[in-house]
């Protein structure tokens, strides 16, 4: 990109100070966000942190993410001597994510990246144009903390279309920087230190991190192949009156599982019985292929205790825009908004205007999205089967998990390393998605959010170079 010369060109003459100038139209504002006194000096306490077994792979990678070869821009004088800043104890176990590490390796080895879950194709023009128009129209200043009004309205309208539920966009919708922030704000806003939260493993890695930040006590229930069904008995014995919340990601990353109505009903009745909150991450709801997506909030008695989270990124192939939202009844929304106001304060303004347009896309857009992804899925799944992987059925998302063990590597990390270096393809080792990494050592995750040529090339490389042992 050209380094353009930036000048201040919007200088307006300030008339010499006098009282005879015409008035202008004043502007909408809201500064309540600056002053909500929501926090007191309550004493939080922290539970002890388990240090999980780190797969050795991660330890060998430096904790810095970069996409270029190192270029030194400073002189030889060391700037750090003694007493480095002490990192908070609770965060010592969270280093660079596996995704960044794999991407770095991929670049180094020229591998085809079927690891990280973002498309190598771009979002639709009509949404990009809306963002451009918003920038040109001057929508570049702070948006209202919990969302641009039109966007909140669009979210409510979309939710009604998808679930039949009628909600108040002013009181029940909070806009965040991606679903990642919705999750962080929900955890930090609604979970007190020591609260018990149930997670289903494998889980997206930011869940555990943000639960740590909130001081929660995590109870994990493992979903197992081949169908990753919810183990009902285990759930019944884990959930109790002490449980504060349960987190459900459906359609599910990394397995592609979609929670069935039966499963959701069972979970719902247990939550009602034990007065438990439900936090749902539904970012892949429009990538539901084998069955209809069901929102927990739409089940009887559940809306009042559910935070439903979603985002723009996956549905519109604009993962870098960071537009997400949380829908919840007012008493839960309040907590989410509080935390959100301290985490990021406000969400990118022009993108919210574009997202408003996006959510109003016609049904044909979503139908085409599904068709395109199903074609890609077919290429990958058939390809993986031909190569010799044991492929588990994936009903939704753009991920599929496979068992790699017949290729003779010890565990998922070793397999992924081998796959990058010897075959030239990237997958994600799933052990990072479990509290106990052992549970994931036989599985790796592939993504098909790539153009068809990339998928075919990857399959070809694997057919050529991956040999069963």
């Amino acid at each position: 990109m050209q380094a353009a010369e930036c000048t201040w060109t919007h200088f307006e003459m300030l008339r010499p100070f006098c009282f005879k100038s015409p008035s202008t139209t004043p502007l909408f504002f809201n500064f309540s966000k600056h002053f909500q006194k929501g926090y007191s000096d309550s004493s939080f306490f922290r539970s002890n942190w388990r240090i999980s077994n780190y797969p050795s792979f991660m330890a060998t990678i430096s904790s810095v993410s970069t996409h270029k070869d190192p270029v030194s821009t400073h002189d030889a004088t060391p700037n750090i001597t003694h007493q480095p800043v002490q990192v908070a104890k609770r965060l010592e176990k969270f280093k660079t994510t596996i995704f960044t590490q794999m991407s770095m390796l991929a670049i180094k080895h020229g591998a085809i990246n079927l690891g990280q879950g973002f498309p190598n194709f771009d979002g639709p023009d009509f949404v990009k144009e809306a963002a451009i128009q918003a920038i040109k129209d001057g929508k570049n200043q702070y948006a209202r903390g919990y969302g641009v009004p039109d966007f909140n309205n669009a979210i409510a309208a979309r939710f009604k279309k998808d679930t039949g539920l009628v909600i108040d966009p002013e009181k029940e919708v909070t806009v965040t920087s991606g679903c990642t922030e919705a999750i962080a704000a929900t955890m930090l806003g609604l979970i007190d230190p020591g609260d018990e939260v149930i997670l289903f493993a494998p889980f997206y890695d930011s869940y555990e991190a943000t639960l740590s930040m909130a001081g929660a006590k995590v109870k994990c229930i493992t979903l197992r192949p081949p169908d990753f069904a919810v183990p009902i008995d285990e759930l019944k014995s884990t959930i109790s009156k002490n449980t504060r919340a349960i987190l459900i990601n459906t359609p599910h990353n990394p397995t592609g599982k979609m929670f069935t109505r039966e499963e959701l009903n069972t979970i719902a009745s247990l939550c009602i019985e034990n007065d438990v909150l439900v936090f749902t991450d539904e970012v892949y709801d429009k990538l539901a292929f084998e069955m209809d997506h069901i929102s927990m909030a739409s089940l009887p008695g559940m809306y009042e205790r559910t935070v439903t989270m979603n985002s723009l990124g996956k549905t519109f192939s604009l993962t870098g825009w960071k537009i997400g939202w949380a829908i919840a009844p007012p008493h839960l929304t309040w907590g989410v908004r509080q935390a959100h106001s301290f985490l990021t304060f406000a969400t990118s303004t022009p993108m919210q205007y574009a997202a408003t347009v996006a959510l109003q896309a016609p049904d044909s857009y979503f139908a085409e999205l599904k068709t395109d992804y199903m074609a890609k899925k077919a290429i990958l799944v058939q390809g993986l089967k031909d190569v010799g992987f044991k492929v588990f059925p994936s009903s939704g998302t753009y991920f599929v998990v496979v068992d790699h063990t017949r290729f003779g590597l010890d565990n998922d990390i070793a397999f992924c390393e081998y796959l990058i270096k010897e075959v030239g393809v990237v997958a994600i080792p799933t052990s990072v998605f479990y509290l106990n990494p052992e549970d994931g050592k036989n599985l790796v995750r592939f993504t098909f959010c790539k153009d068809e040529e990339t998928l075919r090339s990857a399959v070809e490389r694997m057919k050529e170079k991956l040999k069963k042992k």
Binding site: M1, A3, A4, C6, T7, F11, C18, F19, S21, P22, T24, P26, F29, F31, S32, H34, F35, Q36, K37, G38, Y39, D41, F44, R46, S63, V64, S65, T73, H74, D75, N79, V85, L91, T96, G123, A131, I132, G138, N140, Q141, S177, T180, E181, P193, S206, A209, M213, S317, W321, K322, H331, G335, Q338, A339, F342, L343, F345, A346, S348, P350
Partner: protein
Amino acid sequence: MEGKLSSVAKNFTPSSIQELSQLAQKCNAINLAEGFPDFPAPPCIKEAAVSAINNDFNQYRRVQGICDQLALKMKKTHGLNVNPLTDIAICCGQSEAFAAAIFSIINQGDEVLLFDPCYETYEGCITLAGGIPVYVALEPPQWTLDPEKLMRSFTSRTKAIVLNSPHNPTGKVFSRDELEIIAEGCRRWDCVAITDEVYEYITYDNQKHQTIAKLPGMQERTIITSSLSKTFSVTGWRIGWAIAPASAASAIQNIHIRITDSAPAPFQEAALTALRSPIEYFETLRGEYELKRDFCMKLLGSIGFRIQFKPQGSLFLFAELPKDCLLSDVEYVEELIKQAGVVVVPGRGFFHGNESCNYQKRYIRVAFCKSGATLNAAAQKFGELINAKACPKILY
């Protein structure tokens, strides 16, 4: 559901500010309250963002070039050696950089020193992370730092001190001597300085912003946070950063990834253009805002204010109500909305701690990051007020 409310929710009290906000809306008041511009952002950086969107910079990314530019700036402006590969985290605005910085170093029970008055959000972040905010009052009318008061505030539990300079709401720019005093405290008590330098390019009367990180022994214990927002009038883009020793920068980056994953991608690209702006851009920025500051001071002077502390930086004027005015800050702001159709911010929201200090209810904050048209309109409103035959409560 009552029992399900978190402790956070239960401590909420409705804000008088919200009521004023609603009143101002009803009266269509001229907005001199909020700290963001009502004039357009520089065209070239908007163009850069538009280009980025068109050129498909729309997926998760971290633009290393921003770090390279920032490292160059740190060297050029402050003489600091910063490693762009290890010492910088890109975040969704200074807001997130600050939140991540706090989460990266504050453990349960750690004390964090803050100067009073200060921007409201710091306290919330600190408490959310389990820290304890401890306020050190700057003394009006010049907002002076009392070294002994500061030193007395450090304890063995003090982990960090937050330094916002140029300062919101007072417009104070901490002097080299004051920075030295703070640095001495940090060194003696082995504390971290977390700075908020968002107004770093907005200083007046040939004052220069200095970062505490360049003082002896400070770079290794300072986390600098800042952003594009105020410098480039793009407060809605959410592009900010933290600059710190590698271990802290790494932790901040990793926390950021768990909070939001990535700052908005196209705006990261545009940031490259912004950060390469020539020196003339910054000089014009400063000159423009200085004119607005002066205009604003005259504006308040015309309705009876005697400004004792001239802002040395930032976009704000923090003015004490005229001596004879019997109204509180909130009452004054209400009257100003009703009678002049202009809205400003009551100062009490920026003060913490000792409630018995009367001066905490005697200040208003005026934002002058507004277009010439807006400021002229405000002037006209005040003019009408003065020219009216009646003698309103707020005029002296």
